[in-house]
């Protein structure tokens, strides 16, 4: 479990927001993540934002993968 998809928060009011991925928009509840700010990439599960995806951390993970690939030598 569980399908949670990162979507960008485009606009919000007190309880809800409009999130978008690949041009598809959906209205979701922000009750579980009230601190969401427009521009955040939110993890959406069952119609709720449950947290944020941190772009910087994502970048670091990808960099780590690239370093690993650079170290790997064909045997």
């Amino acid at each position: 479990m569980c399908l949670a998809i990162p979507m960008e928060l485009k606009e919000r009011d007190e309880y809800e927001g409009i999130v978008e991925l690949g041009g598809v928009q959906r209205r979701v509840s922000l009750l579980l993540f009230p601190e969401a700010a427009v521009g955040d990439h939110l993890l959406i599960h069952a119609g709720f934002a449950i947290g944020r995806v941190d772009a910087e951390e994502a970048r670091l993970t990808i960099e780590g993968l690239e370093r690993l690939a650079a170290q790997a030598r064909p045997t």
């Binding site: 569980c2 399908l3 998809i5 690949g22 041009g23 598809v24 928009q25 959906r26 959406i44």
Partner: protein
Amino acid sequence: MTLPDRILLAHGAGGRKTRELIEELLLPSLSNEFLATLSDAAVMPPLPEGRPALTTDGFVVDPPLFPGGDLGYLSVCGTVNDLSVAGAEPLWLTWSLILEEGLETSLLRTCLEGAVRAAREAGVRIVAGDTKVVPKGKGDRLFITTAGLGVVPPGRDLGDHRVLPGDVILATGPLGDHGATIMASRHGMSGAALRSDCAPLNGLIAALLASGAEVHSLHDPTRGGALVTCHEVSARTGLRMVLEETHLPVRAEVAALCQLLGLAPVAMPCEGRALIWLKESDAPLAIEALQSHPLGRGACAIGRAEAPRKDRSPVAMRTPTGEERPLDLRAGADLPRIC
């Protein structure tokens, strides 16, 4: 105009109200010399040379209005396309309505206009029709049933019996647009670029067949999408269908929608695309012919038919790493999931 805002039971009773419905709403749009007689049956001129082809279909999709079309437009396209993929040139359609008491007349009018538009685009004529009204609660707004008659020209023989190992599989455009648009509408999601691909394909298929490419079989991937179509062809031919993941044309919005609902683009219905099995060496010729037509701009190869292997699944997806992933018949088609 004496038509009320909503359809009444009396509109299906056969009396004055039925006549009003036909003469004020249906006939002006659908008029042609066959329908105008309003007789019990349409007596048609002799068919052109070739083998007659007949198809029937029911249209119940919810919602009846969606970006890119409506139930009426869909009903004509679907019927035309069934005939076209059988290799027939579609000629005449019947168009039968079951209306729920209380249906907004404006919705009926929109669907009627959609059907007329599709018939005009396809160059077919609706020559017979019927209208029934059922009590409120006994029908979901409107159901449309059609029958379509076409002719397969002499010398043309398309079908799965002609599919061979090594045949290339083409798609005439991106997959899943219709299904994704419907699912988005049902689940309160919107997307500026989510639009049904609903369209009549007879012109596109005529262009393909005129190119001289050796086409073996054609299908329109409706219910269950390309996935079900490939399973059906596999079951009928005994061959494996292997799709190339990196080559599958899927628009970004459709991919996003599928991700959100836990669905697979390859299993989403299309209503304006064809899948083509043809001789491998003729694929470039066929693609060129398709891409020259407005409805075929996105045409590309998506896989091939292969000889059966006991240790491999009948339908599979080749992943970017070169490995095969079995494509199960039920994989990610219809129920949105959270897991």
